[in-house]
């Protein structure tokens, strides 16, 4: 009887909402960054060419949005499952929408970067543009994953101090 009561009490105990820490996505993001670097070093011609080709086909940003949103949500749900905590609606909405805004905004910055490079009189303008696209893609990818988690963390900080 007492065991059943305890089980009932446990079942009725509400699960607390997940409190994210920046260290949770940092490990995965670090591995993703290392994979990018490894691909860059192992395939110094093919990998950049692939990125530039997909940018020219206008498929780079949609692919990055898809990748970052699924990775963010996957990370969030994995941490929630590991800690047996309830995923928050606002946090999930932030993780789903913030990467889209970040990547769309940074796409405008990339256009400005390319215009700036081509407007100059520097030699190897085309090669410079390609390198700019490569660097921009890398920073945008990392920012679109880390940024939403940073927003969530800062939001949590306002709600409570002892997380």
């Amino acid at each position: 009887m007492s065991a059943a009561a305890a089980a009932l009490a446990l079942a009725k105990e509400p699960r607390r909402t997940l409190a994210m820490r920046l260290a949770d996505p940092a490990g995965t993001l670090a591995y993703l960054s290392l994979i990018f670097g490894l691909l860059l070093v192992s395939f110094p011609m093919a990998f950049p060419r692939m990125i530039i080709a997909s940018w020219q086909n206008a498929s780079l940003t949609p692919v990055m949005i898809l990748l970052t949103v699924s990775l963010n949500l996957g990370l969030y749900l994995t941490v929630a499952h590991r800690r047996s905590a309830k995923p928050g609606i606002i946090a999930a909405a932030c993780l789903g929408s913030a990467p889209v805004f970040v990547l769309a905004g940074l796409n405008f910055v990339l256009q400005a970067t390319i215009a700036h490079t081509l407007a100059g009189t520097q030699p190897n303008a085309l090669a410079r543009v390609n390198e700019e696209i490569l660097a921009h893609t890398y920073f945008a990818l990392i920012a679109a994953i880390f940024g939403p988690f940073l927003l969530i963390r800062l939001g949590q900080q306002f709600k409570k101090t002892d997380s």
């Binding site: 670090a30 070093v41 110094p44 970067t113 190897n124 090669a127 390198e131 920073f139 880390f146």
Partner: protein, 153 residues
């Protein structure tokens, strides 16, 4: 054809200066404090044999990461990337560097005013964020290496 020639000159394993550079940070930021602690213990005939997680249990690793981030920001500022790319990379590196350093600040604050402090969590947080800073620093240096070769042509 010209673009192909330019790419053939860009970063690969044979021009891995960034590897030496990151090795310096790893050895001076991580291994040197660990080895010096053991040497100090040996000198004082103590049985103290701390692990890395004990030496950096208050999140000090985050401060190492912050120094590394500053160094890469400096390299970015010196590069010939457009101001947009330099700003994007610098802001992002500064953000992750500050968040890594924040782990030490939070640990210090908690210990100072007596809020519950968990060294294992401080170590885990600073380790993960430092790993992120190291990883982003390596890739940024690879990108800088590539770009320097393109601009030198």
């Amino acid at each position: 054809m010209l673009a192909f020639g330019i790419y053939a000159l860009t970063a690969d394993w044979t021009s891995a200066k960034w590897l030496l550079w990151i090795g310096l940070y790893l050895s001076f930021g991580l291994l040197a404090p660990w080895a010096m602690t053991r040497a100090w213990a040996h000198h004082h005939q103590s049985a103290l044999q701390p692990r890395l997680s004990q030496i950096f249990q208050n999140g000090e690793l985050g401060l190492v990461a912050l120094m590394l981030a500053i160094s890469v920001i400096w390299d970015l500022q010196k590069s010939q990337y457009t101001p947009y790319t330099v700003a994007l990379g610098s802001v992002f590196l500064a953000l992750i560097g500050i968040m890594a350093g924040w782990v030490w600040i939070e640990s210090y604050g908690r210990r100072s005013i007596g809020i519950r402090f968990r060294p294992d969590r401080a170590w885990r947080d600073s380790r993960n964020l430092t790993f992120l800073v190291f990883s982003v620093a390596i890739v940024t240096e690879i990108l800088l290496d590539r770009f320097a070769k393109v601009t030198a042509l």
